[in-house]
């Protein structure tokens, strides 16, 4: 029984994984609003429901979160050249 259930679940998951979201343009729009903390309450509620029931949306959202996270945390932050602030202040002093 356990083995049957496992096989059924696996095939179901495979089916869901390959399935397209029936309303993806609208859903992806809401996923982006949630991702960027721009969604209102109704959009957030729809999002919660959607990712529980739709594998493509669930996958899409998790991927978007991961990419946003690596962009924020893995891209090198350049140091400001030491003389830049002094150079700006010097030019302003001379201009006033």
């Amino acid at each position: 029984m356990g083995r049957l259930s496992g096989a059924w679940l696996k095939s179901k998951l495979k089916f869901l994984k390959n399935m397209d979201c029936p309303d993806q343009a609208r859903c992806f729009e809401i996923l982006q609003l949630v991702l960027d903390e721009e969604a209102d309450e109704a959009q957030r509620e729809r999002f919660e429901l959607q990712i529980k029931n739709c594998m493509p949306c669930y996958k899409r959202y998790n991927l978007d979160v991961a990419i946003k996270d690596v962009l924020k945390n893995k891209i090198e932050v350049k140091s400001v050249p030491e003389d830049l602030v002094d150079s700006i202040k010097f030019k302003i002093k001379n201009a006033t």
């Binding site: 993806q24 343009a25 992806f28 729009e29 982006q32 609003l33 960027d36 721009e38 899409r60 998790n62 991927l63 978007d64 991961a66 990419i67 946003k68 996270d69 690596v70 962009l71 924020k72 893995k74 891209i75 090198e76 932050v77 350049k78 400001v80 050249p81 830049l84 602030v85 150079s87 700006i88 030019k91 302003i92 201009a95 006033t96």
Partner: protein, 199 residues
């Protein structure tokens, strides 16, 4: 007048003394120099150009400081000036105008087949295991207008409303451009992952 004011509908001119100007400059503008320099570098890819662009932006900000209201969003105001300077001065010099057709972007975003299968084989774990240089290369490979929205939103944390003001475009366009930019970035990351044999 320089089109650097963020709040054009509510713009009023103040008359700061020299001392007040220097105080505003020091207190409200200079703390953003790290973000400004990094934004400039990600637009130009050259340290010297980034330095010139930031310097130019701060000089303009000081010159037009009377149109800045203390306590409002100095960072967005400065980013807007920097973006305009980049378009007006640096991009013209490099003779690389935007090749993006935004009508095409809008229609793409609204079309039924948007997103199709572009990223189905890019996995979360693959992205998480990529190193900074790989992410940077993918971002840098985007057209500057797409790169800019990702920088503003994901690296600098601006809201859609702030981005709309910085870029001088409607919020709907911010959303569609961001959506398209992210799809393009995913495609770059997916291609990179495939090339490197990442699972």
């Amino acid at each position: 007048m320089l089109s650097c004011g963020l709040y054009t509908s509510d713009m009023s001119i103040r008359n700061y003394s020299i001392k007040q100007k220097e105080e505003v400059f020091e207190r409200e503008f200079l703390p953003h120099i790290n973000s400004m320099y990094n934004f400039a570098f990600r637009l130009t890819f050259e340290e010297d150009d980034a330095k010139d662009l930031v310097q130019d932006t701060y000089l303009k900000a000081f010159r037009f400081i009377d149109s800045f209201e203390q306590g409002t969003n100095a960072k967005a105001w400065l980013f807007r000036i920097l973006k305009n300077s980049f378009i007006n001065d640096f991009r013209k010099k490099s003779k690389q105008p935007s090749k993006v057709d935004y009508n095409e972007v809008e229609s793409y975003y609204n079309s039924e087949d948007v997103d199709e299968t572009i990223t189905t084989d890019l996995r979360v774990e693959t992205v998480q295991h990529m190193i900074g240089d790989e992410i940077t290369n993918a971002l840098n490979a985007l057209d500057v207008d797409f790169r800019t929205v990702i920088i503003l939103c994901d690296l600098e944390g601006f809201t859609y409303e702030e981005m709309a003001k910085i870029l001088d475009i409607p919020i709907g366009t911010v959303r569609s451009r961001l959506h398209r930019a992210r799809n393009l970035l995913k495609d770059k990351l997916r291609r990179y992952a495939n090339k490197m044999g990442y699972k």
